[in-house]
C-alpha cells in the first residue's frame, strides 16, 4: 500500500542527517596529516585543517523500530554515502511556521513565525560499520570480524563533530513500499544535538533556515572593527582609520566602490584606501558630511561603523541580498530566479533607496522591508526553499475544499477584532537617517487611507516606512492593508486528510463549510490563505490554519489589440484579459467587473 490516497496506507518517517565530510584521505596528498588516531573526515578530527575540503557528505538515516527491511541506501559514491536507516525509535515533532502576509497580525513578527522540528531518538551502540574510511586501521580491528563497538553512536558523533555548520536535517514522510525519492521531504538546518540523557534519549533540533536571519546570527551591516586613527577635524578629507581591512572592503548594499562610514552623526563616503601598514589605512575619494549629514570633528579612536546602503534597488532584491550575502542561509534555499520572476511580474516598479547606519538583525530588516515592499517570504519546508510572493491575487483559480469532499470534522472559525483597521497612515520619505525611525517629524510625507464606510469605532495604525520614498508605494501599502483589515480578520482552522496534503503554507483555497453561512443560512464559499500547517497524525491528517484572503473577484490582464468586445469574447479570453465595466462596476452580462491587481 503506497501513497497518501491508498486505503490502509502505512506511514513511515525517516530522518536524515546530512553532514559535510572531507573528500581527502588521511595522509594522502594533498592531506599531510600523520599519526594516530586517523580522522573521521570531519573538522573536529582533522589533523591538517589547511587542506580540509568538506565538499563530500554522508547521510545518516534513522527510523522507528518497525519490523521489515528498508534498504534506502546508496553507497556507490564513497564521498557522498547515503546510509540505510538505522532503527532507533525515531519520533518527530514540529512547530509550524506561520505567514504574516501584510504584516498586520498583532503580536506576530512581520516576517511571520519560523518553524522548528524536534526529533527524538534512542542512542545505540556503534561500531563504525559505515562511514569510516580507516576502520581497518583502528585499535581492536580484526580482519573477518565485525568492528568492535567503541561507544554509543551519539556520544561518538558529537565527539567527532564539534560544530554543526552546514548540516541539514531532512524528514521523509512516506508510506511503506514507497521509494525514498517518492516520499515527501521537509528540510531544516541542524541547530542543536542534545543528549544522550540518562535513559539514552537524544534530541536533534532543526530550524527553518530563516532562523539563520535571527538577531544572534545575522546583522546588516555587520558590526565593524574600525576606529578613527588620529584626531580628525571636520573639514579635512585626509581621514585615517585603524582596524580590519575586511571591514573596509566588505559590500553592504549595491553601491559598488562607493562606501560609507558612520562617525558620530556624520556619514563619511570613501571609494578606496591606501594601506599604511600596522592596520592603519588612509581613505581615498573621501566626501565629508555625505548624504545630507553634518561634518563633525572626531577624536583618535572614536568608533567607526560601516553603513549599508541601497540605491534605487528593487525591494525583493534587497531581501535576497541580505539572505545570500549577510546570513549563513545556503544559497540553494533562496531561488533568486523565482523571486525575480514574481517581483518583475507584480512589483515591477517598486524600488527603494535607504542607508542603514546601525547593525540591525537581518530578520528585523526583512520584516519591515517586506511589509513596506508588499511582499512576504516564508520557508516552504516541502519545496525546500524560501518562497517569495507579492501581496496580490492568486494567479490560478484556487482549489475548492468542501465539507463533503475534503474537510474532516472540527472546523473552527475565530475572529481577531483587535486587528481590524479603519485608518492606515504611512509616513514615508525619511529626513534624517540619524533621526528616530518612529518619529513622525522625521518624515517628509504621509499618506492616510480611511475607511469611509466604517460604522464602528476608529482603529488607526501608523506605519513608519523608511524604505519608501515614493507616494505610489505609500498609497498601495495603506490601501491594501486597509482593504485586508477593514473587516474583522477571521481565521479558520480545518483538518484535512493526507490525500489533500498538497495544501500547504501559503496555499490559497476557496472553502465551503457549514461553519460559514450567509444571513439566510446558505453555505458561503469564501477565499482563504493557509497561514500555518501542521501534521496532526503522521501521514494521515493535517491541520491548516487559514486567514481570510481579500483578493476575491476578477483581476485584469492586458488583452491583445485585436481582442473582441466583452460580449463576443470566449470564456478563455475573459479569463486572461480585461474589459472596462459600466459605471455600476458590472459587465454587460451583469457579471462583476475587472479589478486592478
Amino acid at each position: 500500500m503506497t501513497g497518501p490516497t491508498a486505503i490502509g496506507k502505512a506511514p513511515i518517517t525517516i530522518v536524515e542527517l546530512e553532514q559535510p565530510r572531507c573528500i581527502n584521505r588521511f595522509g594522502t596528498s594533498p592531506c599531510t596529516a600523520t599519526g594516530t588516531p586517523k580522522c573521521y573526515n570531519t573538522g573536529a578530527t582533522c589533523a591538517d585543517l589547511p587542506n580540509f575540503t568538506p565538499t563530500g557528505s554522508i547521510k545518516w538515516r534513522f527510523m522507528d523500530g518497525r519490523p521489515g527491511a528498508f534498504d534506502y541506501s546508496d553507497m556507490s559514491d564513497p564521498d557522498n554515502q547515503e546510509l540505510p536507516p538505522i532503527p532507533c525509535a525515531v519520533s518527530v515533532s514540529t512547530s509550524e511556521g506561520q505567514i504574516n502576509a501584510g504584516a498586520n497580525l498583532d503580536g506576530r513578527s512581520a516576517l511571520g513565525v519560523t518553524s522548528k522540528v524536534t526529533i527524538t531518538l534512542q542512542d545505540f551502540p556503534w561500531n563504525d560499520q559505515w562511514g569510516d574510511f580507516y576502520a581497518a586501521d583502528r585499535t581492536g580491528y580484526v580482519a573477518g570480524r565485525p568492528n568492535p563497538t567503541r561507544a554509543n553512536f551519539w556520544a561518538l558523533w558529537t565527539a567527532r563533530n564539534a560544530l554543526f555548520n552546514d548540516m541539514i536535517l531532512t524528514v521523509y514522510d512516506g508510506y511503506e513500499g514507497q521509494a525514498i525519492t517518492a516520499m515527501r521531504k521537509r528540510v531544516y538546518v541542524l541547530d542543536k544535538v542534545n543528549g544522550p540523557n540518562g535513559s539514552g534519549g537524544v534530541t536533534l533540533t532543526g530550524l527553518d533556515p530563516l532562523r539563520l536571519a535571527d538577531e544572534k546570527k545575522a546583522e546588516f551591516p555587520r558590526t565593524s572593527d574600525l576606529e578613527i586613527y588620529g584626531d580628525t577635524n571636520d573639514t579635512t578629507t585626509i581621514v585615517q582609520v585603524f582596524g580590519l581591512e575586511a571591514d573596509l572592503t566588505a559590500d553592504f548594499g549595491n553601491t559598488g566602490s562607493d562606501r560609507w562610514l558612520v562617525a558620530g552623526n556624520e556619514l563619511i563616503k570613501y571609494t578606496g584606501y591606501t594601506d599604511e601598514g600596522d592596520g592603519i589605512y588612509t581613505l581615498t575619494g573621501v566626501v565629508r558630511g555625505d548624504l545630507g549629514t553634518t561634518k563633525e570633528s572626531h577624536d583618535d579612536r572614536d568608533k567607526l561603523q560601516r553603513a549599508g546602503r541601497y540605491v534605487d534597488e528593487q525591494f525583493w532584491r534587497v531581501a535576497s541580498d541580505w539572505l545570500l550575502s549577510h546570513t549563513e542561509i545556503p544559497s540553494a534555499f533562496v531561488p533568486v530566479t523565482d523571486w525575480d520572476a514574481e517581483g518583475n511580474e507584480y512589483l515591477p516598479t517598486y524600488r527603494t533607496t535607504r542607508t542603514v547606519i546601525d547593525p540591525t538583525p537581518v530578520k528585523d530588516l526583512i520584516a519591515e522591508l517586506s511589509q513596506q515592499g508588499l511582499f512576504y517570504i516564508w520557508w516552504s519546508e516541502y519545496d525546500r526553499e524560501i518562497k517569495m510572493l507579492a501581496v496580490r491575487p492568486p494567479d490560478t483559480e484556487p482549489q475548492t475544499f468542501t465539507d463533503a469532499a475534503n474537510l474532516l470534522r472540527g472546523s473552527v472559525l475565530t475572529r481577531e477584532p483587535d486587528s481590524r483597521l479603519t485608518q492606515v497612515a504611512v509616513y514615508y520619505d525619511q529626513i534624517d537617517v540619524f533621526g528616530g525611525a518612529e518619529d513622525t517629524a522625521n518624515y517628509k510625507r504621509r499618506f492616510t487611507s480611511i475607511d469611509g464606510d466604517n460604522l464602528g469605532d476608529t482603529r488607526a495604525k501608523s506605519i513608519f516606512a523608511p524604505w519608501i520614498t515614493n507616494r505610489t508605494q505609500a498609497v498601495q501599502l495603506a490601501v491594501r492593508l486597509l482593504i485586508r483589515y477593514r473587516a474583522v480578520p477571521e481565521f479558520l482552522q480545518v483538518t484535512i486528510d493526507a490525500k489533500d496534503r498538497e495544501a500547504v503554507l501559503g496555499t490559497v483555497l476557496d472553502i465551503e463549510t457549514r461553519t460559514i453561512v450567509d444571513s439566510e443560512g446558505n453555505a458561503n464559499a469564501r477565499r482563504w490563505q493557509v497561514i500555518s500547517s501542521k501534521e496532526l497524525r503522521a501521514g494521515h491528517t493535517y491541520v491548516l490554519r487559514c486567514q481570510t484572503y481579500e483578493y476575491f473577484g476578477r483581476f485584469g490582464r492586458f488583452a491583445p489589440e485585436d481582442a473582441p468586445d466583452f460580449s463576443a469574447a470566449t470564456d478563455e479570453q475573459k479569463a486572461v484579459g480585461a474589459w472596462y465595466a459600466g459605471d455600476d462596476g458590472l459587465m454587460d452580462d451583469g457579471s462583476e467587473g475587472y479589478q486592478y491587481q
Binding site: 496580490r392 520614498t469 505610489t472 490582464r557 480585461a578 486592478y596
Partner: protein, 172 residues
C-alpha cells in the same frame, strides 16, 4: 513634488497583470512631468504653444491707427512661442486715395488687402511656425487711412508671445 516612475514597455505586454501601482504611477507621471520632477521627460516648447484657428479671443487691440499722409507703418508685430494656425481679424478704411494693409510673416507679405472708403472687416487664418513673427503693415497714399480692432483668435488654446527673436537658439 510628485514622483516620476519610469515604465518599461513590457509592463503592458499582452497577458501581463494590470497593476494598480502602475496605473497610479501613470497618473502621477503626468503630474510629475508638468512639475518637472527628476527623471520626468522634459516638455518640449513645441508642446507648449500649439494652436488652431477658432473663436476664442486671445489678443485684442481696440485702438484705431490713423494717418492722413502717405506712409508705411507697422501697426502690429509679435513673435510667438508656438505653432499652428491663428485667426487674424481687423478692420480698415482708406482716405480718398488708395491704401493697403499687408499681413506679413517674418517680413514676407502673405496677404495684401486693398482698403475701401469705409471701415470693413477682414479675416485671415495665418499659419505660424515656432518663433515666427506676425506683422500688420499699413501702406497709405497721400490721403492716408486707418486700421483698427486688431484681434487674434484661437480654438481655445493660449498664445505665448515672446520678444527678442530666436537669435542663435534652436528650439525645434
Amino acid at each position: 513634488m510628485t514622483d516620476y516612475t519610469s515604465h518599461a514597455d513590457s509592463l503592458f505586454d499582452v497577458g501581463r497583470p494590470i497593476l494598480g501601482s502602475v496605473a497610479l504611477e501613470a497618473r502621477d507621471n503626468v503630474i510629475a512631468t508638468a512639475e518637472g520632477a527628476v527623471g520626468a521627460p522634459v516638455v518640449n516648447v513645441q508642446a507648449l504653444g500649439k494652436f488652431t484657428a477658432g473663436d476664442t479671443r486671445r489678443f485684442y487691440d481696440g485702438s484705431t491707427y490713423t494717418t492722413t499722409s502717405a506712409s508705411t507703418t507697422t501697426v502690429y508685430s509679435q513673435e510667438y512661442w508656438g505653432a499652428g494656425v491663428l485667426r487674424l481679424n481687423f478692420e480698415g478704411e482708406r482716405g480718398s486715395t488708395s491704401a493697403n494693409v499687408n499681413v506679413l510673416v517674418n517680413g514676407v507679405t502673405i496677404h495684401t488687402v486693398s482698403l475701401t472708403s469705409s471701415f470693413a472687416a477682414y479675416t485671415f487664418d495665418i499659419t505660424l511656425a515656432l518663433g515666427d513673427t506676425l506683422s500688420l503693415t499699413r501702406v497709405t497714399g497721400n490721403n492716408g487711412g486707418s486700421v483698427r480692432y486688431i484681434e487674434l483668435l484661437t480654438n481655445g488654446e493660449q498664445l505665448l508671445p515672446f520678444g527678442g527673436g530666436l537669435g542663435g537658439w534652436n528650439l525645434v
